[in-house]
């Protein structure tokens, strides 16, 4: 496995704010890598470091084997970037902006450009001044996907797109992946990350707090079980790793730590299982587990303010 992006111990401060506080990130060549975190957690700062727009205070970063600051011009021929908040020149049309970004990156495929414009339903003859946020984002997405590069760095690329366009976007990411290209996808849309990403990193306050394949991360969390048996169940509450048990004789609903799943299933067979559904944890639950305390704090603060 070769690495497209490797970052270790990255630190970046802006005055008193420590935006990155020893961040690690490793993206393998050919994978779609999810980059998750709430607003202000350091996702965009990391991306700006990877693009050589910011110089880190400490730590190491390598992109496609090069130094993002010193080798920026060379590297950027092989990288396409979609910013989270796309600003365009108001007096240029969308088509002109797409061609410009393509040319500055080293050329784009006109056939692919035409296809993308049609799929994303974007009118390239309109001046950027009259584009909505979603349309400006489409300009950046089309310019990126029409370029022949090895690495795509996408910073919340679908935040202004409607669900239909979000689906078109997902199709293209899968296509790119099949071509063996690498994608770093920073996102808030967990279903999108779940659908697309091979591995994810969850960051918080400038640090990586969780990293791995979705399967590995799920292992760290709980699975929801809903079960019906022939005979009334007993002893479930005493099993290690069972939470939030709701038991009504032969019906039970509960969560189990994924690591304990085998022992619990063995226990259930004692009562002759009729039906069983198990729901793996969603990314939402993973995410909430890491930010749940923060959300609870915010919630409490809001309630306190309301009072």
């Amino acid at each position: 496995m070769t690495t497209a992006i490797s970052v270790s111990g990255l630190v970046k401060t802006f005055g008193p704010t420590r935006a990155l506080d020893g961040l690690d990130l490793s993206v393998a060549t050919g994978e779609v890598h999810g980059f998750l975190g709430p607003n202000g957690s350091g996702k965009t700062t990391t991306i700006r470091v990877l693009l050589g727009l910011l110089r880190p205070d400490a730590g190491h970063a390598k992109v496609l084997g090069g130094d993002p600051w010193n080798d920026a011009v060379e590297l950027h021929r092989r990288v396409a970037y979609v910013p989270g908040d796309v600003s365009l020149w108001p007096n240029l049309t969308g088509g002109e902006a797409i061609d410009l970004f393509g040319a500055l990156r080293g050329g784009l495929d006109p056939k692919r450009r035409a296809e993308l414009l049609e799929r994303f339903d974007l009118d390239p003859s309109k001046k950027s001044r009259s584009y909505s946020k979603g349309n400006r984002q489409k300009v950046a997405v089309v310019a990126a996907f029409a370029s022949d590069v090895e690495l795509f760095i996408l910073d919340e690329p679908t935040s202004g797109l409607d669900p239909l366009m979000g689906a078109v976007f997902e199709d293209y990411v899968r296509e790119i992946r099949q071509e063996g290209k690498t994608v770093l996808l920073s996102s808030h849309v967990l279903s999108e990350v779940e659908a697309l990403c091979d591995r994810v990193d969850i960051i918080r306050l400038g640090k990586t707090v969780e990293s791995g394949t979705l399967a590995e991360l799920r292992h760290l969390t709980r699975t929801s079980i809903s079960v019906e048996t022939a005979r009334p169940m007993t002893g479930l509450a005493d099993l290690r790793g069972v939470h939030d048990l709701q038991l009504e004789g032969t019906r039970a609903k509960f969560d189990i730590d994924t690591a304990e799943i085998d022992r619990v299933l063995n226990h259930l067979t004692l009562f002759e299982v009729r039906t069983l559904t198990s729901t793996p944890p969603t990314l939402e639950e993973l995410f909430l587990r890491h930010y749940g305390d923060e959300l609870a704090l915010q919630h409490n603060a809001m309630e306190a303010n309301a009072r």
Binding site: R48, H76, G95, R105, K126
Partner: protein, 546 residues
């Protein structure tokens, strides 16, 4: 009436909102224009203290087509009338721009940015937005008129004439507020609405210019009676009030009729269109880029060319005007020692016409420095708006990106100076019958300004490279200091060390003085060193969005 009433519901709140948004902008316009009036009064009193001098300046202005074009009417030789001849056109034109920008800001710009949608969803009538904008613009003009009248009265000028002068200024502003009310309905973008309103101001200026130039000089040369085209222009109406001479208050009746008609038209248009839409749709642009755009230099040129073309037109008109009066300058200065002293201070010593050209070219140099700084600060605007980030994320290096803007600023500076020299030469050459020599002579003299302009704009490059968030303030402050040092240095007796800080201090006063190469070379080296330092600093720093 309830139907009519409901169309205006919420106007009061929108007026307060507009005033709050304009709480800095409008006072700057009002104070600036009032100070302009005050400065004109004191300069007229200082330069033409006697009746004899005022007769001379009235006759020479009325006889010079260029003077009439830019100053407008001459209405006798009283102090007040002389002041109005000098100040009215500048203040009234500025009031017109203040009004059109204000009306468009509170109407079309609100619609374009979507703010109007949020307001429209609240309890406001269909006409409330436009009515509120007009209330603010008309109110600002009334205040401007009163402030101007107050300045004139405070300088011991007759009260009736002072009030008439204030009313004339306000009238021009209010007329263009009504015109902007219409253009804001017609165009879909605020830029388009402002452009159409500015074009209307330009046409009004030209119409009265043609009428005034074609007019008759009467009363022994001290009064100019306009031909009919002047009466087609709101700016012309303002002039025809002739404060301190006739005080023709009845002319304001024309304004009331025009205002009512235009505002009625604007309301009618509002009622017949959707929110956000215009009557003139935005034209579609190119679906693909031309090959000329596809490089950092191509992009920079596309972003900068409008500014350069605008400056070029202004410079050519200014140069032709400077040149056109060049032959009359000896008569014009005549016995006025103050004026001769002013030219000598700014332009140096020598033949009066050459000194005059040296002075106008040194003023041009400062103006062109304004162009260069405006152009270079576009780099900061690109960075602050977030448009630079995706460009630098392509394989465009920082040096190459910066060079393209610096190259355009540098070549634009040279081009503007050449245009200034050439148009002055053509204007002057046409009068004295020697175009070829004058063009080559004055173009070379104008180019002497270039090293100082480039040294000052090099400072803007350093500011951008080193202190991006302060670049705008630092660069304009540096230019303002150079203007102050150049215009007032001797007057205030500033120490030589301070005067030497301005690069313009070191320029030989061509064409009056001999041109020596050394100061020019030193200034060019300073410009190069600043530019190199600024570029190195930018390469080393983080990108700093706003």
């Amino acid at each position: 009436m309830s139907l009519l009433g409901s169309a205006f519901t919420g106007t009061g709140r929108l007026v307060r909102l507009a005033l709050r948004r304009d709480r800095i902008q409008l006072p700057i316009w009002l104070v600036g224009l009032t100070l302009t009036q005050a400065a004109t009064v004191s300069s007229v009193v200082g330069l033409y203290p006697t009746e004899q001098e005022r007769v001379a300046v009235a006759i020479s202005t009325a006889q010079s087509p260029v003077g009439v074009m830019f100053n407008g009417l001459v209405s006798g030789t009283s102090v007040g009338a002389t002041v109005i001849t000098q100040s009215f056109m500048v203040v009234a034109m500025a009031a017109a721009f203040m009004s059109t920008l204000c009306v468009v800001r509170h109407t079309r710009q609100n619609e374009e940015t979507g703010r109007a949608e949020m307001i429209g969803a609240g309890i406001v009538g269909r006409h409330a937005l436009l009515t509120a904008a007009l209330v603010v613009a008309v109110g600002a003009n009334v205040v401007l008129g009163l402030l101007n009248a107050a300045v004139l009265i405070a300088n011991d000028l007759p009260t009736g004439g002072s009030l008439a002068a204030g009313a004339g200024i306000a009238a021009v502003g209010i007329a263009f507020a009504a015109i902007a009310a219409v253009t804001a309905q017609v165009s879909e973008t605020s830029r388009g609405a402002n452009g159409m309103a500015a074009a209307a101001i330009g046409v009004a200026f030209l119409l009265r210019g043609i009428g005034d130039v074609a007019g008759k000089v009467v009363d022994g040369g001290v009064t100019l009676v306009s031909a009919w085209p002047s009466w087609l222009s709101p700016i012309g109406w303002g002039q025809q009030i002739r404060p301190f001479d006739r005080d023709n208050w009845w002319v304001l009746g024309l304004l009331v009729v025009a205002f009512a008609a235009l505002v009625g038209l604007a309301f009618e248009l509002t009622a017949h269109r959707d929110l956000g839409a215009g009557l003139r749709a935005v034209r579609p642009g190119r679906p693909t880029a031309s090959s000329g755009l596809l490089s950092p230099l191509g992009l920079a040129w596309r972003l900068q060319r409008g500014v350069l073309i605008g400056w070029a037109i202004g410079i050519v008109v200014l140069g032709a005007a400077y040149g056109g009066v060049g032959d009359e300058i000896e008569d014009f200065v005549g016995d006025s020692e103050q004026l001769a002293e002013y030219f000598e201070q700014v332009g140096g010593t020598g033949r009066l016409t050459d000194v005059y050209f040296a002075a106008t070219l040194s003023i041009t140099g400062l103006a062109v420095a304004g162009y260069a700084i405006q152009t270079l600060l576009r780099m900061r605007a690109e960075e602050a708006s977030g448009r630079l980030e995706p460009v630098l994320a392509t394989s465009v290096g920082r040096t190459r990106w910066m060079w393209s803007h610096i190259a355009i600023a540098t070549l634009g500076t040279v081009l503007l100076l050449v245009l200034m020299g050439a148009s002055t030469g053509i204007g002057y050459g046409a009068v004295v019958g020697d175009v070829g020599d004058q063009v080559s002579n004055l173009t070379r003299a104008a180019l002497v300004q270039a090293p100082a302009v480039l040294a000052l704009s090099g400072l803007a490059v350093v500011a951008f490279g080193l202190l991006p968030r302060l670049a705008v303030a630092l660069s304009w402050t540096a230019l303002a200091l150079c203007v102050l040092i150049g215009q007032l240095g001797e007057l205030f007796g500033l120490p030589q060390a301070v005067v030497n800080l301005s690069p313009f201090t070191h320029l030989p006063g061509a064409p009056a003085a001999e041109v020596t190469a050394l100061p020019l070379l030193v200034l060019l080296l300073v410009a190069l060193a600043f530019t190199a330092f600024g570029m190195t600093s930018f390469r080393r720093r983080d990108l700093a969005p706003s």
